[in-house]
């Protein structure tokens, strides 16, 4: 079963890459771009048929490795 995870920086945490992307977009005449936050996307193939179990495993993975909870939030989608 494939579980998808999105990791993003928490609100208020400086995202210099997102800022640079936003400024570039503005420079390309996408003037209405007010903010960009960059994140990470994972597709995790888990050998588990029960979706609930698979998601709970991935939740554990997020806490232990995929996200650093000091600055990042994660969302299992």
């Amino acid at each position: 079963m494939k579980i998808k995870v999105i990791v993003t920086l928490k609100n208020g945490v400086l995202d210099p890459q997102g800022k640079a992307i936003q400024q570039t977009l503005n420079g390309m005449n996408f003037g209405n771009v007010e903010d960009v936050r960059q994140g990470k996307y994972f597709e995790i193939e888990v050998n588990e048929k029960d979706e609930k179990k698979a998601k709970s495993l991935v939740d554990d993975m997020c806490k232990k490795l995929l996200a650093n909870l000091v600055i990042e939030d994660y969302k299992i989608v």
Binding site: V13, L14, P16, Q17, A20, L65, N68, V70, I71
Partner: protein
């Protein structure tokens, strides 16, 4: 004093550290990350570099490697653990040190000499150090120290801030901050001050003809405090 330098795939300051430690009389040995245990040591060093190509987050993969359990046990039993640059990043990812090193504020890789102010001397690294400001070298892309307000307060209350970026005269201000680190932080301790992580490289400042000798002071001081 016996020391061990841990080598991860992608470490690149391990040999410089080995040269520096031996120069001042440490009996140093190199330890591979896949080993289970660390030879008897008084100091463990996690060197600089780009362990695992900085994949996922700097230091995150190395912080789960086989040898790390021994490093954590050693630290928890009061042993001295020093993380330089990528080593500092690894220490934050293990949870031995608070916070995280984020990408530099202006997105540039910084390679330059800096001055750092020693903020605390009640520890085995800086006790009785003759100088208050050291000239050291930094080379990093992710050195922008960040932690939550609560963690910062706790770092300050327990005097866990080890070194901060400053001017040549010791002034700490925005101008002296190369990477956007919160409160100019260049290095911190754990609560017991046996674990030290810092971005600047003392091992690059051990020769007066090549660079400078403030790194020598740092290593000699650790030895002096051990005697």
């Amino acid at each position: 004093m016996r020391s061990s330098v841990i080598i991860f795939p992608g470490s690149n300051c391990d040999r410089d550290m080995d040269v520096a430690l031996k120069k001042f009389g440490f009996k140093n040995q190199m330890v591979w990350h896949n080993d289970q245990s660390i030879p008897k040591s008084d100091l463990i060093v996690l060197p600089g570099g780009f362990s695992y190509g900085d994949y996922l987050r700097c230091g995150s993969i190395a912080s789960k490697s086989k040898i790390i359990k021994s490093v954590i046990d050693f630290a928890n039993s009061g042993g001295l653990v020093l993380g330089i640059c990528n080593g500092f990043q690894i220490l934050t990812e293990t949870g031995l040190l608070n916070g995280i090193l984020q990408q530099n504020k202006f997105l540039n890789f910084i390679c330059s000499n800096v001055y750092v102010k020693v903020k605390d001397k009640q520890n085995k690294y800086f006790k009785d150090l003759k100088k208050d400001v050291l000239e050291l070298h930094i080379a990093h892309n992710e050195g922008n120290y960040f932690c939550s307000d609560d963690e910062l307060k706790s770092l300050e209350d327990n005097n866990q801030i080890a070194v901060t970026y400053c001017g040549v005269d010791g002034t700490e201000n925005e101008k002296a901050n190369p990477n956007g680190a919160i409160k100019n932080i260049a290095g911190i301790f754990n609560k017991n001050k046996n674990v030290l992580g810092m971005m600047p490289h003392p091992e690059r400042m051990i020769d007066k003809y090549l660079s400078g000798e403030d790194g020598s002071l740092f290593f000699k001081n650790i030895l002096d405090n051990f005697k």
